[in-house]
Every structure is written in C-alpha cells, then in structure tokens.
C-alpha cells in the first residue's frame, strides 16, 4: 500500500472525492477508488442493464463509501441504486455521504473554503468520466 502522495493518484471524477481521499490519507485509512462494479439490474436475457460502482472501498474497514454532492432533490436515482445494491448484496457494507454530510465534514475540519471552491457543492463540476484504477492507497 502507498500513500496518496507517493502513488499516482487516480483521476477523481469530482473535487469532493479528491478531498475525501486526502482526509482518509491524513487519518491513515487505506482506500481504493472505484475498485468494484456491482450489477443491479439485468435484462430478461441476463445482460447487465445497470450497475453501481461505489466511489471508495476502505479495505481495513470493509466499507464502501459513495459520495454524492448532488443536491438532495436530485439524489433519488442514486438512492434507488443504493437500495437495490443493499437488497442484492446484503453482505456489502456501504455508506452514502450526501452533500450535507460532506459539507458537515468540511465544516468540522474548518475547510469551508473547499466548499466555496466547489461552486456551492452543486455536483456540476464533474471533470471527467474516468473510472478508478482500483489501486490501493494509504
């Protein structure tokens, strides 16, 4: 395992994900970025129609973390996917951090500047659609 600063960082889809990675690094909690994809709906022929790739996996805690900085009014679709994931994979532990959770985390650490830099935490500044490389960081 490597520290984020020592390993090539993945291309995060959102600034909030990079910030959470820095928080995890700070507290020496190892993580992988989008290492797993869970199919959640299938066509009648058995082809995967929809899947869910949580943003982080924390191996030491055996916990997936999905971070959504979308406005609460827009997270219904993600909540549905999360509900399906929990039904289909009851052994998978996942924590969904909403915009308000991330905001509270930054306030706790006195990092309101991070929120302001993200243009009001509206989820509109996803920079690319790159998937994570699954490499573990610590």
């Amino acid at each position: 395992m490597a520290l984020l600063s020592e390993a090539p960082p993945p291309r995060f889809a959102h600034d909030s994900e990079a910030e959470l990675a820095r928080v995890l690094d700070f507290y020496q909690v190892s993580w992988r970025y989008e290492p797993d994809v869970f199919p959640i709906t299938w066509s009648p022929s058995g082809a995967v129609v929809e899947s869910f790739a949580p943003d982080f996996y924390l191996p030491e805690l055996d916990l997936y973390v999905e971070l959504t900085t979308l406005r609460q009014s827009l997270v219904r679709r993600k909540n549905r996917k999360l509900r399906l994931l929990r039904q289909l994979y009851p052994g998978v532990r996942i924590k969904l951090l909403y915009a308000r959770d991330f905001q509270a985390l930054m306030v706790k650490y006195g990092r309101v500047d991070v929120l302001l830099d993200m243009n009001g935490v509206n989820g509109s500044n996803r920079t690319n659609g790159m998937n994570g490389n699954g490499a573990e960081h610590r």
Partner: protein, 197 residues
C-alpha cells in the same frame, strides 16, 4: 463586527451564535454523574487510567473524574486534526503523547464527541500497541449518522442528531468551548446557509 452582534434577537441565556440548546447544563451534569457511577462500578478494585484527547474532552474529563469514586490516573494526549494541517499531503500526528506507560493498565479513552471515528480509529491503533490490559471508550456525545469506522463505544453520554454542535468543550474555530451547555451552531457563523433538506 463580532458574531454576537449579528443576532440581536437571540433569546436570553443563549449565545447569539447558537440557534438551539441541544443539551442543558443540568442534563449534562446528571448524565456525567451517571457515567462516573458506572465507571466506579465497572472498575471496582482496579486503578484505571483515563486518557483525555485534547482539547474538546477536557471539560468532560474534569467533570467525569469527580464522579468516579476510585483511585485513578489521568493522562492527556493531543492528535493533529485534518483541518489544522498545513500541508495538503500531511498525516495525522501525535502532538502530545502519553506521559506514562499504559502497558498492563486498564485504559479508558475519554472523548467529547465521536462522529466519523477517524481520529479515534487512529488513536486506538496507537494505544493498542502500548499493550494496555484493557481499552474502553467513554464519550459524551455520539453522532452515529456520520460514522465511517466501526467502533464499539462502551460508555455514551448522549446520542445526538446530525447537527454541528458546540459548547461544553466543543469548539468551532477554537471558540464556544466555555459554554456550559451543548448547542447547535448557526450555519451562518461558518459562512454557509443551512443544508438543503
């Protein structure tokens, strides 16, 4: 302009930056006394060391130990916080280590609040390496909605909702620690509107 001057309509007895008192002084005192009695019973015949994690827990510790009717020791630790880190690639550090060895001792970590559990997760790993006979956690406030780590808390004063609280040792920007109650800080104080419902 001070924060206080921004909120002239605050009810008397409440700090102007606090929108609601979550736990009154009387509620806190009563519960802390119960926790002290519980520790007294659980550690009867032993000589525990209570470790306070600066700075938030010092007020709680000061009240708690006076309710523990046992011979005990106190030690103090301080751990760096993410928000205070000056380097973006920094890592958590022990700023103030234990003054005495804890090998073979019954240790109780005294925390003001546990939310993500990230600091405590680090601290417990550190303390376990010191070989204590036992290691338990006593916190005044538990905010489970925010938890990222799975930590078993042995003694909980209050389980609180997911709101930003100050007072009774808890701060925002090093302020409000001296409030005798636990209150919800107005979001305007930290420069944000209330979160969208």
């Amino acid at each position: 302009m001070t924060h206080a001057s921004l909120h002239a309509a605050t009810p008397p007895g409440i700090h102007a930056d606090v929108e609601e008192i979550l736990l009154t002084q009387d509620q806190i005192q009563a519960r802390v006394a119960q926790l002290g009695a519980q520790l007294t019973a659980d550690y009867a015949g032993r000589d525990p060391v209570l470790i306070s994690v600066l700075k938030g827990s010092i007020v709680f510790l000061a009240d708690l130990v006076r309710g523990v009717q046992l011979p005990l020791s106190i030690d103090i630790m301080e751990v760096s916080s993410y928000g205070a880190a000056t380097e973006s690639s920094g890592q958590v550090r022990i700023l103030k280590d234990l003054s005495h060895p804890i090998e073979g001792r019954d240790v109780v970590v005294v925390e003001d609040i546990i939310d993500t559990g990230l600091t405590l997760n680090y601290l417990l790993r550190y303390l376990r390496e010191k070989g204590p006979a036992s290691l338990r956690i006593c916190c005044l406030l538990d905010k489970p909605a925010r938890r990222l780590t799975e930590i078993e808390i042995d003694y909980v004063g209050f389980t609180i909702p997911d709101r930003f609280v100050v007072g009774y040792g808890l701060d925002y920007g090093e302020r409000y620690r001296n409030l005798p109650y636990v209150g919800v800080l107005r979001p305007s104080v930290y420069g944000l509107d209330p979160p969208e419902a």
